[in-house]
Symmetry: C2
Subunit: 174 residues, 2 copies
């Protein structure tokens, strides 16, 4: 799957090639998707914003993360995460516990309620996705999923813990 070869920038680097158009399309479609994701997510579950949902989902996968981890993972400011986490805690969906090894650190855990809500939301979100993907051949689904994973896994894209994240030239104003 790696397809590490194809070093030929020629494939993706030159204007006018089908591949170039593809990049353009990917760019546009992904952006369009992003534009809507938030809106629809909000409509579906007023209870859980897209952010909250995402954070919660992340916690479900890896219990015991620190706020900083989440911030790094999503390229969010710590303050944002802090507030989101506070909200989540206030809502009783997660718990913050001080790491015995390092008093500065707060380890985050999903509560039962959190797990429950997350389950519901995931279920209905998944249903929507499934509906949307109905009719797709399994083969395509698998490939699509793989592409997305590959895309998101780009180094610098998801600096999971201790990551440089110079992807975007650091602090911007690029």
């Amino acid at each position: 799957m790696a397809a590490a070869e194809t070093p030929d920038e020629t494939t993706v680097g030159l204007g006018g090639h089908p591949a170039d158009a593809a990049v353009e399309t990917i760019h546009r479609e992904l952006t369009a998707f992003a534009r809507r994701a938030r809106a629809s997510a909000g409509r579906m579950h007023p209870e859980l914003s897209l952010v909250s949902y995402t954070l919660l989902g992340h916690l479900e996968e890896r219990d015991g993360l620190r706020a900083t981890d989440l911030a790094a993972h999503y390229a969010l400011d710590k303050s944002t995460v802090s507030r989101q986490v506070s909200a989540l805690e206030r809502a009783g969906l997660i718990e913050r516990r001080v790491d015995p090894d390092d008093q500065r650190v707060q380890v985050l855990h999903l509560t039962e309620a959190g797990r429950h809500i997350l389950g519901q939301v995931t279920e209905s979100r998944r249903a929507a996705f499934r509906e949307r993907l109905a009719g797709w051949p399994a083969q395509d689904l698998i490939r699509f999923a793989a592409y997305l994973e590959r895309y998101n896994a780009w180094p610098g894209g998801e600096p999971d813990r201790a990551a440089p994240r110079d992807t975007y030239g650091g602090r911007g104003t690029h």
Copy 2:
């Protein structure tokens, strides 16, 4: 989390099958992407927010759209579009002209400045995407692009003009 999988497989596949996992992955990855798109876009081009960029891009493709069209297309509230359009106009990137056939309607056009800026932003955004997609075989790029298009083209998803948008049925009075 594919634990309690309700096997309504008729849709995309059979519970617990690779296809189902794929849907799950698509769901997760797409969401993760959405979470970041905005942030990175903002960092890259303070000049043009993701929304503005998107709207502008849309106008480039189809000159002479109405604000309502954009709203429907992106599932945004008309007020939001109205404000964005105003901003864009204030910035001299687009022009609003009254439709001679219907005085209520404002037809939107890109100005030269708008086209120019859009070109720049598109170029650098494309560069980023291209960098990220470098090394992908052309075949994969094309397929990926096609998948995304197919995904976004879902009937309820992009109600171009006259949109029922009952996709997400519930009007979560937020």
